[in-house]
């Protein structure tokens, strides 16, 4: 009897060790499978591609208002401005097209990406500012202003293309991915919320009047015109405002932690279509 119990205990211990080990192993593909399966199970009525529409995918009343707003979306002005900015030459005569594959058209789905040269994650916003630096131009604000217009235009030229974020076998890429994953699940701020508290556990529920968007595909519609802001904003702008909402001191918009988070979160939405620019409450 005792022997049997001991044996069972040993099996349990072994199991615990195995699962602890599994938690340490960095396996983006397995994570993605589990992540998408979770949301499919939570929202069986929502088609996979519809997750890019955030709260509108899971709430009928909000969807009707959104459809009304999309008849003439308020990001139209930003889109026009972005097209002009994108095609306006720098002082040296070159344009943004010179910095990107396919002249920067239809490439949103490939960002953020791991840059093997520097060993870090490059978001589209960072790539745009690097492009400016390479051409002797000053950096743009990461969160709003001309940056969101340019990103809006670049997203629009990529609409419908499916996110295809790559996490290469490079240990630095895997570390960045894991870092983003840790950020996503870590509680922070005085309210003690993680990204996951709102957008996984409470996804689709009401929080102070708003419907929380599911984390799956949550970045696919960026940049967004947010009624709450009364203006456009990029992914980093949303991250800083999310941080403030849980009473955590926000990081610099181009902080490595945010870029890693965007890397992880966008990767989780691989296969979903680009839907930016978008509108949100």
């Amino acid at each position: 009897m005792i022997r049997k119990l001991l044996a069972a205990f040993a099996v349990l211990c072994a199991g615990a060790i195995v699962s602890a080990h599994a938690a340490d192993k960095i396996d983006p593909a397995a994570d993605l499978k589990a992540f998408q399966a979770y949301f499919k199970q939570q929202f069986p009525a929502v088609p996979l591609d519809d997750f890019v529409n955030g709260p509108y995918a899971v709430n009928k009343g909000m969807r009707a208002q959104w459809e009304s707003i999309m008849q003439f979306p308020p990001y139209d002005f930003a889109l026009d401005a972005g097209k002009t900015l994108f095609n306006t030459p720098f002082k040296n005569g070159k344009t943004y097209a010179s910095c990107f594959p396919h002249k920067g058209v239809g490439i949103r789905q490939d960002y953020p990406q791991f840059d093997a040269k520097t060993g870090e994650v490059v978001t589209l916003e960072l790539a745009i500012n690097r492009c400016r630096a390479a051409n002797g131009e000053a950096s743009l604000n990461y969160e709003t202003g001309p940056m969101d217009s340019i990103v809006a235009y670049m997203a629009e030229t990529s609409r419908g293309k499916r996110f295809d974020i790559k996490v290469p076998k490079d240990p630095r890429a895997l570390a960045a991915y894991q870092n983003g994953k840790q950020y996503f699940y870590s509680r922070r701020g005085q309210l003690n919320f993680s990204c996951a508290s709102c957008h996984v556990t409470a996804a689709g529920k009401r929080m102070r009047g708003d419907i929380l968007a599911p984390a799956l595909g949550i970045l696919a519609s960026f940049p967004i015109y947010r009624s709450d802001w009364g203006s456009m904003g990029t992914v980093p702008r949303r991250f800083t405002s999310c941080n403030s909402q849980v009473r955590a001191v926000a990081l610099k918009p181009d902080d490595k932690a945010y870029r890693d988070l965007e890397y992880f979160l966008t990767y989780m939405g691989n296969g979903l279509p680009v839907a930016g620019p978008g509108t949100r409450p």
Binding site: Q71, F72, P74, F77, A81
Partner: protein
């Protein structure tokens, strides 16, 4: 400076559906800026739509109309290619207009 007015006027028979979006802060006068000072009211008061010299719709707005205001209405008697002029003026006397065409 780009025009502040976007318009989409689509003919469906002789019925013309007009949608417009105007870039304007529509400050209500009740919102504070980052320093805690009230932003003074600044909003469009009148928008007029003219088709072939005739006013087909006019809007009179107060500060309760949303930022970057949207409007949709339908009038009869127009056709594809007809001119449609939109003009607005706000409470500070700023104004803009656009000569559009029915699609």
């Amino acid at each position: 400076m780009a025009n502040t007015i976007r318009v989409r006027a689509v003919a469906n028979g002789d019925s013309i559906e007009v949608q417009s979006l105007i870039q304007h802060p529509m400050d209500s006068g009740f919102v504070k800026d980052k320093k805690g000072n009230l932003i003074p009211p600044h909003y469009i008061e009148v928008v007029t739509f003219e088709h072939a010299g005739k006013v087909v719709f006019s809007a009179f707005w107060g500060p309760a109309v949303s930022k970057d205001p949207y409007l949709k209405f339908t009038f009869k008697g127009g056709k594809k290619g007809d001119p449609l002029k939109i003009s607005w003026i706000d409470n500070e006397g700023q104004k803009d207009s656009l000569d559009g065409k029915i699609l």
